[in-house]
């Protein structure tokens, strides 16, 4: 295949994949929602879960986006230096979003800042968001796709704590966000927490944490312990599905961390809503692909 044909092929595949993720939730999210649904017994929580599952069925059946807010598209790219389309990748992802916007259809969610107009194509300056990780001596490419809706973007927050505030301060920072903004972000939520050295390092990690499969744990023993404590703690607040009360408020809490300056603890929180539309696809150098998040998805 020549370069041009390859670019076309990958653009089409990514457009289809993005559209697909707007209609069907990933396997781990569906499994977790089923688990939480079974554990709720109040009539309100039950009727909310029934509606959610009926909606997801109808979305697939009628081939429509399951939530009207298809978000801003965000991509985490882990690209090998030898991947043949490394130079074209960022451009083709943008084209794929435009294509998916009209084919799916996706809502127009890109408003140029300062000029304050909606581009009508779902792309703009810096959107879709593309974050790069370069992998030396590899010829493949791994991409996480994510639809960041408005409601679940709002709780995002980052700050720098003084060491004296410690992990107790981290706890308060996260829990305060849950009762103020979490309610409206369509729980049950997936909560991402970044603990690092500054606002931007923590913020980036808090979003990256949302790409991890539900049920995964931090490799650091204490961080894993804190994930569990926060998960149980937020559940115990009783916010429940849609903030209307229930036994379970989160699908999980994921913490990502780096080392920090001795005088600072950077901390950030980000949430994904119940409609956590994340996808993961891995390409080899010939564009053969593996999708890890959605069984049965063919492009």
């Amino acid at each position: 295949m020549n370069k041009e044909a390859m670019v076309q092929k990958m653009t089409d595949m990514m457009a289809k994949f993005v559209g697909f993720t707007g209609k069907k939730l990933p396997d781990d999210v569906i499994a977790k929602l089923e688990e939480l649904r079974a554990k709720e017994d109040s009539p309100l929580a039950k009727v909310i879960y029934d509606t959610m599952f009926r909606n997801q069925e109808l979305a697939v059946k009628l081939d429509r986006p399951s939530c009207q807010d298809t978000g801003v598209l965000q991509f985490w790219v882990k690209c090998g230096t030898g991947f043949p389309l490394i130079n074209e990748l960022e451009g083709l992802l943008k084209d794929a979003v435009v294509k998916a916007t009209f084919a799916t259809p996706l809502r127009h969610n890109s408003v140029e800042t300062f000029d304050e107009y909606n581009t009508g194509k779902n792309v703009g300056k810096g959107t879709p968001t593309v974050w790069w990780d370069i992998v030396p001596n590899w010829d493949g490419c791994e991409i996480y796709t994510y639809m960041a809706g408005g409601g679940c973007t709002l709780p995002g927050n980052a700050t720098v704590l003084m060491p004296g505030e410690g992990y107790e301060g981290v706890t308060k920072f996260v829990l305060d966000r849950m009762t103020s903004y979490g309610l409206n972000a369509c729980p049950p939520l997936l909560v991402g927490v970044g603990v690092a050295t500054s606002v931007e390092t923590a913020a980036l990690l808090s979003k990256k944490a949302l790409m991890r499969p539900i049920g995964s744990h931090s490799e650091n023993e204490r961080a894993a312990k804190m994930e569990k404590l926060l998960e149980d703690g937020i559940n115990a607040i009783g916010i429940g599905p849609q903030g209307m009360g229930g036994k379970y408020t989160v699908m999980g809490v994921h913490i990502e961390n780096t080392a920090r300056h001795p005088s600072a603890i950077g901390v950030a929180v980000n949430v994904g809503c119940w409609s956590h539309r994340r996808g993961h696809i891995i390409f080899d150098k010939d564009l053969n692909y593996t999708i890890t998040t959605h069984t049965g998805c063919e492009l």
Binding site: V47, L183, C186
Partner: protein, 208 residues
């Protein structure tokens, strides 16, 4: 009017103040009849500019939402996808809005505050939430879009007057007595939060 079908309590427009008497916060109800999407700028026009709302919502329902609509032939439209938007943005207008328009049911996402609760109590109105993120379920409850007004506002802000059938489930968040589900719940949540912060903090003293 209130009817019951398959164990569902259904409000059918036109709705009277009397119909809302037995509806309380936390109840699950459905709506059939006239529902008009109405959000930020439409509220501003009615309340701040004193313009008359071009769709009659008196004794009917409004929905805080910006839908995805597909135009059909002969000035007809199809509802592709519709989900509630955060009601709180309309809070500052809602007392005057309910007073002038006579709307009986407001549907949206998340809670609202005193302005709306007072309107509900003073004029006989309720605020309900429809579980968000369920755009296909909601769109499927729309039988027909009967008219579209204030189209100059663009697709999300246009007043789309829909005929709906058993639109819901709707969970009552403010009732006609002015009780407010989310505000009552928030007190509980905040109390439990403080207890959890203390509990977790006792176990994360990693800096020694």
């Amino acid at each position: 009017m209130v009817t019951y079908q398959d164990g569902k309590k259904i409000l059918v427009t036109p709705i009277s103040a009397e119909d809302l008497k037995d509806i309380h916060i936390g109840d699950i109800i459905y709506l059939s009849g006239s529902l008009t999407t109405c959000r930020d700028v439409a509220h501003r026009r009615v309340v701040e500019e004193g313009r008359e709302i071009p769709v009659d919502v008196r004794n009917n329902a409004i929905l805080h939402a910006g839908p995805i609509i597909r135009p059909l032939e002969n000035d007809k439209f199809e509802m592709v996808s519709v989900g509630p938007t955060t009601s709180m943005r309309m809070e500052k207008f809602e007392y005057e809005f309910v007073k002038t328009t006579g709307v009986r049911v407001i549907v949206g996402k998340g809670g609202m505050k005193e302005n709306t609760a007072n309107a509900c109590r003073d004029f006989g109105c309720i605020h309900c939430v429809i579980p968000a993120g369920n755009a296909v379920v909601a769109a499927c409850c729309v039988e027909e879009i009967e008219c579209a007004e204030w189209r100059d506002l663009g697709m999300p802000e246009t007043l789309w007057n829909c005929r709906v059938k058993e639109f819901g489930p709707l969970i009552v968040s403010i009732d006609a007595e002015g009780r407010n589900y989310f505000e009552e719940k928030k007190i509980e949540y905040n109390e439990r939060k403080e207890a959890q912060i203390a509990k977790i903090s006792a176990q994360v003293g990693f800096i020694k």
